[in-house]
């Protein structure tokens, strides 16, 4: 992965979230408070502004830290804390260099997922973004271990992530605001899982075309 790819992934993720903002808000209205798309879009606009600013860092670790701080300070809610924690932790696994190999990028993704779980205490099946992150990471690691190219693996993960997000629908939420609805949370897709699937689509879009 190059730092140019890393930046473009975040520009693309911002575009996708803005495109799907109303849909994410609607999903959130059903089991939360109708602002998931708005909050994430606001944070990603700040990320894009920071990454595009003059004098913005060009090394992967510094870029990743910059994205984490921007999300942490503008998204708010659980999403801001979770995405911010993920990026700040992932930055520690990335080099102070403009490129890294696939194994390093995958290791950074693992750090991100671990940070999300330690910050949010969610387990698989709790109807949160972990239900996409954890299996998506497992697929990524397995694909790369089998010798699949980073490009092909990213596309496979992006496809799987959409299915994983859909599969949160029947679950009863045990973490996050939807958990207050108890059994009434079943039958609705988790909005944080949908936005996580959009992230993986952004990764695939950029990695597959560069």
């Amino acid at each position: 992965m190059t730092s140019e790819q890393f930046r473009r992934i975040w520009f693309r993720f911002g575009e996708l979230v803005t495109e799907h903002r109303d849909e994410l808000n609607r999903l959130d209205a059903a089991i939360g408070d109708a602002d998931h798309g708005t909050n994430l879009a606001r944070g990603l606009a700040k990320v894009a502004a920071d990454l595009g600013a003059d004098g913005s860092p060009t090394h992967l670790a510094a870029s990743c830290r910059q994205v984490g701080m921007a999300l942490l300070s503008t998204v708010g809610g659980a999403s801001g804390a979770l995405w911010g924690s993920a990026l700040l932790r992932a930055a520690g696994a990335l080099p102070e260099a403009e490129t890294c190999d696939t194994a390093t990028a995958v290791a950074a993704a693992r750090q991100a997922v671990d940070a999300i779980q330690s910050r949010g205490h969610a387990e698989l099946g709790d109807k949160t973004m972990v239900d996409v992150w954890r299996p998506a990471l497992a697929l990524l690691e397995a694909s790369v271990a089998e010798g699949m190219s980073g490009r092909k693996a990213a596309v496979a993960v992006a496809e799987r992530a959409v299915t994983l997000a859909d599969e949160t629908a029947p679950l009863v939420a045990r973490r996050g605001r939807a958990s207050y609805l108890g059994a009434r949370s079943a039958g609705h897709v988790d909005p944080g899982s949908v936005s996580t699937a959009l992230f993986w689509r952004a990764v695939a879009d950029i990695v597959a075309t560069s």
Binding site: D33, N39, L72, G76, G77, G80, R174, R175, R177, Y180
Partner: protein, 336 residues
């Protein structure tokens, strides 16, 4: 959507300016932040109190900045937790050298962001303790879930901890006073009509003309159950029964109560709930020390109310009854 706004994205910022404009003797905004802090800070050596959360709960939380309650209130976007850097700015503003207590409502986002701020402040050398309020009996508390929400009972916790801090209690003592308040306070709410988050533009749920949502939180989220609308007395009986059971009240309990409007319920109707709350306590043989009636923790323009009961011992009764002088709560004679 019809609202009194300029630009949707400016509502929080402009409301904070408005609070400062209306209450300059009480509070000021920490420049460049979403933090309201006391105009006249408490004296050095007293414990600072910080609370906050998403906007849309006015007068919470800025309305409780002042003598006997909070030293700083941190506002997030509407119904969205403030970010760690903002909470950190609140902690710095509230610190008078004796440490800072964070009063957090039990929402996933609030807990995460306040905890991150606590970690940042501690690495700056400020001693910070935190308590999490979870007074909503409508939600099942379980070790395996997020647990009960923090709702209107939080204001009683501000009051009790704020009084302890003002009396010169140490950080550990103020934290323990807050914990005692949390252990003895329970709330539950209902909605007759939903609210509209400005950025979303549409109501967060819809209700038929004869339906209500029971067990709502304070973020416009649907409740735990939908039922036909009941009379004020039936509603009060049902909610007070739930609170009483959860507090394991025995006849002769000493109580504080709060009848809290969610934003669009007339005081006239809230007063009908207050009437039944007083009757209910007498019939059950309880002693009602104090009842607060009004809007303390709202949910934008949601129609509905919540009822809160706090079981008092001598210590809590003294803290709840102690003087306070804030934009939204003024009682007693203040010796400052």
């Amino acid at each position: 959507m019809k609202k009194v706004l300029n630009r949707v994205e400016d509502v929080v910022d402009e409301a904070l300016e408005g609070f400062q404009a209306a209450f300059p003797t009480y509070l000021r905004r920490v420049e460049g932040t979403h933090v309201l802090t006391r105009t006249r800070p408490k004296r050095t050596g007293l414990v600072g109190l910080v609370s906050g959360g998403g906007s849309g709960h006015e007068p919470a939380h800025g309305g409780y900045v002042g003598y006997g309650m909070l030293d700083a209130a941190v506002a997030g976007e509407v119904f969205t937790s403030p970010t760690p850097d903002q909470v950190l700015a609140g902690i710095r503003a509230a610190d008078r050298g004796a440490g800072v207590l964070l009063i957090i409502k039990n929402y996933t986002g609030d807990v995460m962001n306040f905890e991150m701020a606590q970690e940042l402040a501690q690495s700056d050398g400020i001693r910070v303790e935190a308590v999490v309020v979870d007074d909503d009996v409508a939600v099942d508390g379980s070790l395996y879930t997020t647990g009960r929400r923090g709702i209107a009972g939080t204001v009683f916790v501000h009051k009790a901890a704020g009084a302890a801090a003002e009396q010169g209690a140490s950080l550990d003592e103020v934290r323990d006073a807050a914990r005692a308040a949390i252990a003895h306070v329970r709330s539950m709410g209902f909605a007759l009509a939903p609210c509209t988050v400005p950025a979303a533009g549409e109501p967060t749920f819809t209700l038929g003309t004869t339906e209500m949502e029971l067990g709502i939180g304070i973020h416009g989220e649907p409740g735990t159950e939908r039922r036909p609308v009941a009379t004020a007395d039936d509603l009060a009986n049902m909610i007070l029964g739930r609170l009483s059971e959860d507090l394991a009240l025995t006849p002769g309990s000493r109580l504080a109560a709060m009848v809290n409007g969610m934003g669009a319920t007339p005081l006239l109707e809230l007063a009908v709930l207050a009437r039944r709350t007083g009757q209910w306590a007498r019939e059950a043989g309880h002693q009602m020390d104090v009842m607060w009636l009004g809007e303390f923790m709202t949910s934008l323009e949601m129609a509905g109310a919540s009822l809160t009961l706090m079981r008092l011992d001598d210590r809590l009764a003294a803290l709840i009854g102690a003087p306070a002088d804030t934009p939204a709560l003024r009682q007693g004679v203040v010796h400052d």
